[in-house]
């Protein structure tokens, strides 16, 4: 009964999305005709769109909640539950299992789409009404396509008869607290960008592109971007500790699929600021909004179609792939067609000098776009190469070499940009303002090069620039009244500082990590970095749905440090049969000791992988700071917007 109710909710939501699109299209069309604009029917049409959007969002949410209920109750008569769950699974993974599969994750996708649309309908007050209605129409058009995808080719509520006694279980790699949070966070980010897309489409339809539009769009972009940042950071940490490979970024197609929308959204965030503050970059901002959501959808397509080999590819199914591809063609192609037809009618905004805040933001946009292009080409190149009969995969050597140097230039621009004035600045004065950061960069460069000796150029520059960027990031607060500094300035400072912190972690991990792979005898100490690690012994342990061999390692720093213990495991799951390694990680202020237990050999020795990773934690700490900066900025914008609106009403 629950499954049928869920399916019904999904059908109703789809019907409402169709209605929403129809009402919005008629309303916008009539309001553009002077003869019809004032008619009461136009008014009625426009008024109906908002409630329909809200109910559509609620129904999608109901469908998602019902699916979660099915997973929690382990209702094996539902095909999706039988294929992806097991009654012996801990409750948290039953819930997370609802989106740890193709159909469930697509349902989560439309749920977030619907809820985001409802949020716009309820909360957005700053936009001209025809533009808002056109925006909700665009949002409904996207939702309609994905409802159709779910209902016609990926029904999550399909029954299975006869019902199996128990389910197949969830991939043990996904049975981790990280999975409970990583996909929903990332999806909120991915799909949140759809709002920017719909805003852009709405603005192109009504030809209403200007500072007011940008100010209305900015909080939505910012919110989606915060979630994307958190999702990527969490995903990176999950891969780091769960896969047991010691790395935090693998340039896997799906990691790239999450990075590309982030790059586009970061560019959009900065160009929308230029549009809001200085009324410049109108066409470019529209373009970026379209590109950012296109990248989200391409990400979905790459993950779901199976055309690229990846750990994230659930369903290798050309029918589904074709369906998503058709949706992609309609939305991306349609939006870019609209862009080409309409952008000629968008007036050019204000112009500015090259040496100015706008100039730096344009440079930031171009560099982010270049990195985006590099990642896109690297991700898709295997498909192109296959066309020429060559089999290859593109990995870290390409991405590091191609994107690394561009990213370092971007860091330099990032350091200087916030210290420039809007519209026009003198190069001399600007250089005077960045003297301290440049000096910091130089000193760190020399000190690191002299003391460590022989580290690679890229991490060396990374360390030096991260120090310079950290100094430059806090410079906007220099000699300012800290109490009267607006919250969004703090947001920018913290977000930029977060990038510096994260970069320092990446560079330090690349330059200073020490790794050792040993066949360890019990009692024999192994040296890694400053630590002595001894295998004390192994013993079996039992978990809720797994059994494991657990090693006890005692570690000691230097010769006089206190002893502490690490317990890496090799876990065996029976549903489905899989062995995973659970790494054991000791976090210290200056880095992490990372240990993985491998296979035993015939002589009673155990394979151990040990890493000492100095300051690696800064990578994720930086990511969290970036998201925090975004959140402060968002709060700052929202409270200021409310205050200004209040004042405007008082004057009116």
């Amino acid at each position: 009964m629950i499954a049928e109710a869920g399916l019904a909710a999904l059908w109703f939501a789809a019907a409402l999305a169709a209605l929403q699109l129809l009402l919005a299209a008629m309303g916008v069309w009539r309001s553009a005709k002077p003869a019809l604009a004032e008619a009461s029917m136009t008014e009625d049409l426009m008024r109906a769109v908002r409630p329909v959007a809200v109910v559509q969002g609620v129904l999608a949410l109901v469908a998602m909640l019902l699916l979660i209920v099915l997973f929690v109750r382990s209702d094996m008569s539902v095909l999706l539950v039988a294929e992806n769950s097991h009654s012996a699974k801990p409750l948290m993974y039953k819930i997370a299992g609802a989106w740890g599969n193709h159909e469930g994750s697509m349902l989560l996708w439309v749920t977030i789409l619907g809820v985001a649309g409802a949020a716009v309908a309820l909360l957005e007050r700053g936009l001209a009404r025809p533009t808002l209605i056109a925006t909700l129409g665009a949002q409904a058009a996207i939702a309609l396509g994905f409802y159709a995808f779910l209902l016609f080719s990926s029904n999550p509520f399909a029954r299975i008869d006869p019902a199996p006694a128990d389910g197949n279980g969830l991939n043990p790699l996904l049975q981790d607290p990280g999975l409970a949070f990583h996909p929903p966070t990332l999806y909120i980010g991915y799909v949140g960008i759809s709002i920017a897309f719909s805003f852009a489409v709405g603005a192109m339809v009504t030809r209403d592109v200007g500072p007011a539009f940008a100010r209305a769009m900015r909080p939505w972009v910012l919110a989606a971007w915060i979630f994307l940042t958190l999702g990527i950071t969490a995903g990176s940490y999950w891969a780091y500790y769960e896969l047991g490979w010691g790395g935090w970024w693998f340039w896997d197609p799906v990691e790239n699929a999450s990075l590309m929308p982030w790059l586009a959204a970061t560019a959009l965030l900065h160009s929308v600021t230029v549009l809001a503050t200085r009324d410049g970059l109108r066409a470019w901002t529209l373009m970026l909004a379209v590109v950012a959501f296109s990248m989200s959808m391409i990400g979905t397509f790459l993950v779901r179609s199976g055309i690229l080999t990846s750990v994230h590819a659930f369903a290798v199914d050309p029918t589904r792939g074709s369906f998503i591809l058709a949706l992609l063609a309609i939305y991306i192609g349609g939006a870019l067609l609209l862009f080409a037809l309409r952008v000629g009618t968008v007036r050019a905004g204000t112009t500015f000098d090259f040496v100015s805040r706008e100039g730096a933001l344009v440079a930031n946009n171009l560099l982010l776009t270049v990195i985006l292009g590099v990642v896109l080409i690297g991700t898709l190149y295997p498909i192109v190469a296959a066309g020429f009969g060559t089999q290859l995969s593109v990995g870290p050597p390409f991405f590091d070499k191609a994107a690394g140097p561009v990213a370092l230039v971007l860091i330099a621009v990032m350091a200087v940009g916030p210290l420039l004035r809007w519209r026009r600045d003198s190069a001399q004065a600007a250089i005077a303002r960045v003297t301290i950061p440049i000096a910091v960069t130089g000193v760190v460069l020399i000190v690191v090069a002299a003391t460590t000796g022989g580290i690679a150029l890229l991490p060396l520059l990374g360390l030096a620039l991260s120090a310079g960027l950290a100094a430059a990031s806090v410079a906007p607060l220099w000699k300012r009244n800290l109490r009267r500094t607006p919250l969004f300035t703090y947001g920018m400072v913290i977000a930029h500082l977060g990038i510096a912190v994260s970069l320092a972690g990446m560079a330090s991990d690349t330059a200073f990590t020490q790794a050792t792979l040993v066949a360890a005898r019990v009692g024999e100490p192994q040296r890694v970095g400053p630590y002595l690690v001894t295998l004390d012994g192994v013993k079996p342990v039992i978990g809720p749905n797994w059994s494991a061999i657990e090693a006890r390692l005692s570690a000691r720093r230097g010769n006089d440090g206190g002893v502490f213990y690490l317990r890496p495991q090799s876990r065996f799951f029976s549903n489905p049969v899989t062995v995973t390694s659970e790494s054991a990680i000791a976090t210290r202020w200056d880095g992490q000791l990372y240990t993985v237990l491998g296979e035993p050999d015939a002589q009673g020795r155990w394979q151990l992988r040990l890493w000492w990773k100095p300051f690696v934690t800064l990578i994720w700490l930086g990511g969290a700071l970036v998201a925090l900066g975004g959140a402060l900025s968002l709060i700052g914008r929202l409270t200021r917007g409310r205050r200004e609106r209040g004042r405007g009403e008082a004057y009116a």
């Binding site: 179609s305 055309i307 192609g333």
Partner: protein, 175 residues
Amino acid sequence: MSARLIWIPFAVALGLLALAAWGLYQPADRTVRSALVGQTLPAFDLPPIVPSKPGLATAQFATGKPRLLNIFASWCIPCVAEAPQLLRLKQAGVVIDAVAIRDTPAAIADFLARNGDPYAAIGDDKTSSLQLALGSSGVPETFVIDGRGRIVQQHVGDIREDEVPGLIALVRGLK
């Protein structure tokens, strides 16, 4: 922005979509091809492991007659499963040389007595050195070597019954 430039994003998107569509309908080829195909065998000289058969050296190849080089071990279960197929290949006139990986004379003699002996020569590779030089990651693996000592094919895993006719045809077609 000029009127033509405006269409560039649309054109790029169409190109990307065409690429994706093409990638989707192309039957995905997930076979991993060996990078050693087309290369000459590395230089090696392995001693015999059983007294009745010669060892194996590079000089035994490149004699104008194509051969198979089978990498096996007595401790390997898929090698037992593969043995009947190798015997059929031998009956069809295919010469098969072998490399025994990390093995002992007694165990090999026992293996040949139990599972039949399709081999012309068996080299003793106690340290997996030839296996590593050939880029082979496990047992059994079979390399098809042409008359000039070049690797034509690397077959990973045991040879199945349905693969035997293809291999015979491949070897007969080589010079």
